[in-house]
Symmetry: C2
Subunit: 208 residues, 2 copies
């Protein structure tokens, strides 16, 4: 399988980077092809310019590449901290520029853009791993855990994704080494469950 | 009064720009001091670097300026389209970089960052104007209107703001000229209501 892994955290020593490492190791061990993007490392430009808004807009090479990878991927893994109930701006920009019309969703004929879009990411599986310093009770009662509806409904639900799993690890800032090890095991387990070893090759459908 | 107006839309002919113009005209007519930022026009850099994360980090001049304005403002008006239940990345970056510790919120002594922060924007009034192409029923039932909890609870509620008003204008893409005129009147009315004519000057508390 082809799996995209998108990471957004400015600190290379962060637990987000540890999550990414665990996910990448697991995917590699299972023999998957990986598209990995550490958006901070790549200095991704998150600003959607007016020229890219229309469905048929010509795209910069880098953005077209991201779009092609999204289309080709059987699975997508997103990793980021909870910043104000939302992803960091750099990842919001990846959403704005890559989850675009014609790639992730389309509109039915005659629809000007106000109707229900047609999801073009059907069949893909999505895993989202988040980190947070907000206690669970406060997250649920005061904030309503907006990251759940943002990723599950607003973004991937709209694009036709049905196989969705999200896990928020908390409270990071006061977590012990042992707790973090257990969390990374959870990452490994979830990635293994969603993307098990792939015996059928893409090219010839013979067993490896 | 001093009012900050923050606008995030890439198209100068957008209804978002018309909202900003109506808000600015009203504020001017009422005699307020205005800090206006069209983030796209300013080419605002939305990426929070690791060096800016700690409370006492030295800030680039531009970011310090945004922070000082936020502190000085009696009111804040935010204008942006609904992109995936969230603001555009450029505005998410303004949140990430300007709504920062020591400016918008603080932590109580002994708290490592996992507790309930102390809001430092108490007493300020906030208006948020959004545009959307999603029908109201679908927004409420399928997506849960995340922009409401993001701005009201996750961001400004956490920072101590109690006087909060938000209005989502929809469906923009099929709206008539007449409808838009009425919406702009709503903007003018809301701005006038929250920021009425100010007779007491800041300096000497004498009537102008």
């Amino acid at each position: 399988m082809k799996i995209s892994v998108i990471l957004a955290h400015p600190n290379k020593k962060s637990f987000n980077h540890a999550i990414a490492e665990a996910a990448l190791n697991t995917l590699q061990e299972k023999g998957h092809d990986i598209y990995f993007h550490d958006l901070y490392e790549e200095n991704f430009d998150p600003i959607l310019p007016i020229e890219e808004i229309s469905k048929d807009a010509p795209l910069p090479h880098q953005i077209k590449n991201y779009c092609d990878e999204l289309t080709e991927s059987d699975g997508i893994i997103i990793i980021h901290p909870n910043w104000w109930g939302q992803p960091p701006a750099i990842l919001k920009g990846w959403i704005d520029r890559v989850i675009r019309p014609g790639i992730a969703y389309g509109f039915l004929e005659g629809d000007k853009g106000e109707g229900i879009p047609d999801g073009l990411l059907k069949g893909k599986a999505v895993l989202v791993f988040n980190t947070s310093n907000t206690p669970e009770e406060r997250e649920e009662k005061v904030f309503g855990d907006p990251l759940e509806t943002l990723w599950k409904n607003c973004i991937f639900g709209l694009c036709g994704v049905e196989k969705f799993y999200r896990k928020m690890f908390r409270i990071i800032i006061i977590s012990s080494e042992e707790q973090r090890r257990k969390w990374l095991q959870e990452v490994t387990d979830a990635v293994s469950r969603f993307f098990p070893k792939y015996y059928i090759s893409h090219e010839n459908h013979e067993q490896k």
